[in-house]
Amino acid sequence: MNFDYTLQTLDGIKQLHLQGRLDSATSMALEKTINTLFESNQERALIDFSGLSYISSAGLRLILVAAKRARQCGGKLILCNLAPTVREVFEISGFLKIMETADSQEAAIALLQAA
């Protein structure tokens, strides 16, 4: 399956790195991890899209779930390194109006540390 991810916690910030294609066939593989991303109050996390070449509405649904959970637990979620085509899908979907993005992982971490 052409999708993979890694999750690590550094200095209290969860970092989820996505690789490959997040589509109807592969999004199931990420669902459980997305659901555990914001388990405790005021959790801070970034999702790094630098390795992601493709996302469809099935993948967008998971990102929306993460954003909702972040809001519910008083936490913060930053999306970073969106490729132009992936960013276009986020823009069409109206997600850029309700989610915070950064151009690099360093910028995302800086925003989360300031939160």
Binding site: T26, Y54, S57, K68, G94, K97, I98
Partner: protein
């Protein structure tokens, strides 16, 4: 599958592919589409995402997730752009007519992804419509070259 170029009405056949009605097949379809429109990665991306949204919609809502149907995908290229068609053997079903309009302006708590797939299709394509011919539904998409 045949990818032989055929001239018809000034149109070139880039892809004629029959796939089973299974969501897991969208990934191999994406690779095939990227191979057929390899010279325009931007168009390949738009075509792939629209095909995925419409085919998964057809499988879930038109075919009730039955895995043993066939879906035929054709891509034609003309001077003006791409013409993409999806033919199924499901009962009459118009995804564009029945789709809920997504709420693009709500805040995070109130947002859902319902209708988002078809909204993506309508935004990325210049024309999109569906018809029923007695044997199945034919969805046609047009994407003009800019």
């Amino acid at each position: 599958m045949s990818t032989t170029a055929v001239e018809s009405d000034g149109k070139r056949l880039l892809l004629d592919y029959v796939m089973p009605s299974q969501v897991r097949m969208v990934e191999s379809l994406a690779e095939i589409v990227e191979g057929a429109i390899g010279d325009r990665p931007d168009l390949a991306f738009s075509t792939t995402i629209c095909l995925e949204e419409l085919i998964t919609n057809t499988i879930a809502h038109g075919l009730g997730n039955a895995p043993d149907h066939s879906i035929r995908v054709r891509i034609l290229r003309s001077q003006e752009g791409l013409e993409i068609s999806i033919k199924d053997d499901a009962p009459a079903f118009d995804p564009f007519h029945d789709a809920p309009l997504p709420d693009l302006d709500g805040d995070i708590e109130n947002r859902t992804v319902g209708g988002l797939g078809l909204h993506i299709v309508r935004t990325l394509m210049d024309e999109a419509w569906a018809s029923y011919d007695g044997t199945g539904n034919l969805i046609t998409l047009k994407k003009n070259f800019r």
